[in-house]
């Protein structure tokens, strides 16, 4: 059983997976509850446009991907805050246009898109120690910031209007949240891939929402579900000889199905009358 840890790449995968496994649902719970479940996918595709643009102007691709996604995140939030569009539509607009712009710019730069995709799609079993340091630093910053502003974000997530009436700077916290999401997604896709990060932002949170009875419980359950998926997926992929990212995602799906089953048996529907 423990032979899996004899390989350096597997040990690094477990460490990196643990960091992403904690980071993704911690920010994901706020995103999911604000109906930003697709923001991971959206920002990932938008980052592609940023990398292409970076190649065109010969700027650092990571920096360009981050700036480009951050600008898109601000745009998404602005469209949603104006109240004319739902968060999902705002994400869809930026996703498709960001991706299209990336492809057109890549063509103009006479670059192959294969190279761009390769740049953005990391794999959890190809981690280097320097990747671990990078993602650990980002996780520290994002989780630390979320910890400091957790009460305000929780208030805004539950009832934005009342939070605003109480004098909470709703606009500031909303922008902070989408910028943290952009930072998380852009850093994580380069290290573990778009599929894994966008799934871990949403699936463990969706599982925890089936059974949690408080916000605190939902957060810790989501982190638990996420880690179970990461470890289960890594071990599964090793023995089944499958790709680690998709195996982790499928394990997370299984965890979600189990949580839904537990809810059916154990917890009454929220709409059911009280005894």
């Amino acid at each position: 059983m423990f032979e899996i840890f004899e390989f350096e790449f597997m040990r690094l995968a477990f460490v990196g997976g643990t960091i992403i496994g904690v980071l993704a649902p911690t920010i994901g719970i706020f995103l999911v509850l604000r109906r930003y479940g697709l923001i991971g996918d959206g920002l990932g595709h938008i980052a592609f446009g940023g990398v292409a643009f970076g190649q065109l102007v010969r700027a650092d691709p990571t920096l360009m991907a981050l700036s480009y996604s951050a600008l898109a995140a601000l745009g998404i939030e602005r469209l949603r805050a104006k109240g004319r569009l739902g968060g999902d539509v705002a994400i869809a607009i930026f996703l498709s246009s960001g991706l299209a712009l990336g492809l057109v710019l890549a063509r103009l730069a006479r670059r192959s898109t294969d190279q761009l995709w390769g740049y953005l799609f990391g794999s959890v079993i190809a981690l280097q120690p320097s990747d671990i340091v990078q993602i650990a630093l980002i996780a520290f910053c994002v989780i630390g910031t979320l910890f400091v502003v957790r009460r305000e974000l929780f208030f805004i997530t539950f009832d934005e209007e009342t939070a605003r009436a109480s004098g909470i700077r709703v606009g500031f916290y909303n922008i902070l949240l989408v910028l943290l999401a952009a930072l998380t997604v852009v850093s994580a896709i380069q290290i573990v891939g778009l599929l894994l990060i966008s799934a871990l932002l949403v699936l463990p949170v969706a599982a925890s929402l089936q059974i949690a009875r408080s916000f605190r419980q939902a957060l810790f359950t989501a982190i638990g579900c996420s880690l179970v998926s990461v470890y289960g997926g890594l071990i599964g992929s090793y023995y089944l000889d499958t790709q680690p990212g998709p195996t982790i995602v499928l394990t997370a799906l299984l965890v979600f199905v189990l949580a839904s089953a537990v809810r059916l048996v154990w917890r009454p529907s929220p709409l059911a009358p009280l005894p």
């Binding site: 509850l33 400091v148 502003v149 009460r151 305000e152 929780f154 208030f155 539950f158 009832d159 209007e161 009342t162 939070a163 605003r164 009436a165 109480s166 004098g167 909470i168 925890s208 929402l209 949690a212 009875r213 408080s214 916000f215 605190r216 419980q217 939902a218 009454p268 929220p270 709409l271 009358p273 009280l274």
Partner: protein, 250 residues
């Protein structure tokens, strides 16, 4: 020191070309329970939102606690329970205690939670008798219990002025009477000034000290007795049924 908690002078507000408030002037003094009534679409909720700074009026001035609204920074002194406060995401994971604790967020210094904050939360839960429910998810409670939670949240904020927008629209009449009795008690014991929006004059007439009737313009402001004695209600509601509960389930 002025006894006025809210002073509104010649307030005009419109959504685009549609005027909603036309030259409204109104004063709420300390310790008062003012019932703001009027038919649907008469601008009651808009007036509350303007007082809260959520909407910016085109003309007119508002002072809260003697300070002009634009310069007023002590938002925690004003508590607000919005209309349809029960209308949240069904699956939202929040326990009763977590929601009551939100009331302290505007009061926290440097974001640090103190014993005084815990004590305020406990007092608020005791005041509305929900201590037993503290660990329950909000989604499992009845409409009346949820409304108590939202009231506890705003009480834990320790406001001096409480703005309530149709707070009993989702609860049955027996629980409604109890809710208004609780408000009257908070007003007596803690000197809380309350501005209560309702389209249901019969439910609030016994509890309020003053009634203001709004239909884009302020049509009346006086004691409940004066209001009932006048033919104002007949004119404003034009024979329409006064009591129109909007239950979320029908």
């Amino acid at each position: 020191m002025s006894d006025s908690v809210v002073e509104i002078e010649n307030l005009w507000f419109s959504y685009g070309a549609e005027p909603v408030l036309e030259g409204v002037s109104l004063t709420v003094t300390r310790g008062e329970i003012l019932g703001l009534i009027g038919p649907n679409g008469s601008g009651k909720t808009t007036l509350l939102k303007v007082i809260l700074g959520l909407l910016t009026p085109q003309r007119g001035t508002i002072r809260l606690f003697g300070q002009e609204l634009r310069r007023f920074r002590e938002r925690a002194r004003v508590g607000y329970v919005r209309q349809r406060s029960w209308d949240f995401e069904r699956n939202f994971p929040a326990s009763v205690e977590e929601l009551v604790r939100l009331g302290r967020v505007p009061r926290l210094r440097w974001g640090l939670w103190s014993r005084a904050d815990t004590a305020a939360v406990e007092r608020a839960m005791r005041a509305v008798h929900i201590e037993e429910l503290r660990a329950r998810p909000i989604s499992e409670l009845s409409g009346g219990q949820q409304q108590r939670v939202f009231l506890a949240r705003v009480l834990s904020q320790e406001p001096e002025l409480l703005l309530l927008d149709e707070p009993t629209a989702a609860i049955d009449p027996a629980v409604e009477a109890e809710f208004y009795e609780l408000l009257a008690q908070l007003n007596r014991e803690q000197g809380l000034t309350i501005l209560l929006v309702s389209h249901d004059i019969e439910a609030i007439v016994k509890q309020v000290t003053k009634i203001a009737c709004l239909n884009r313009k302020l049509l009346f402001c006086g004691t409940p007795q004066e209001c009932l004695a006048s033919d104002l209600l007949e004119r404003v509601y034009a024979g329409r049924k006064l009591v129109q509960h909007q239950h979320p389930w029908g």
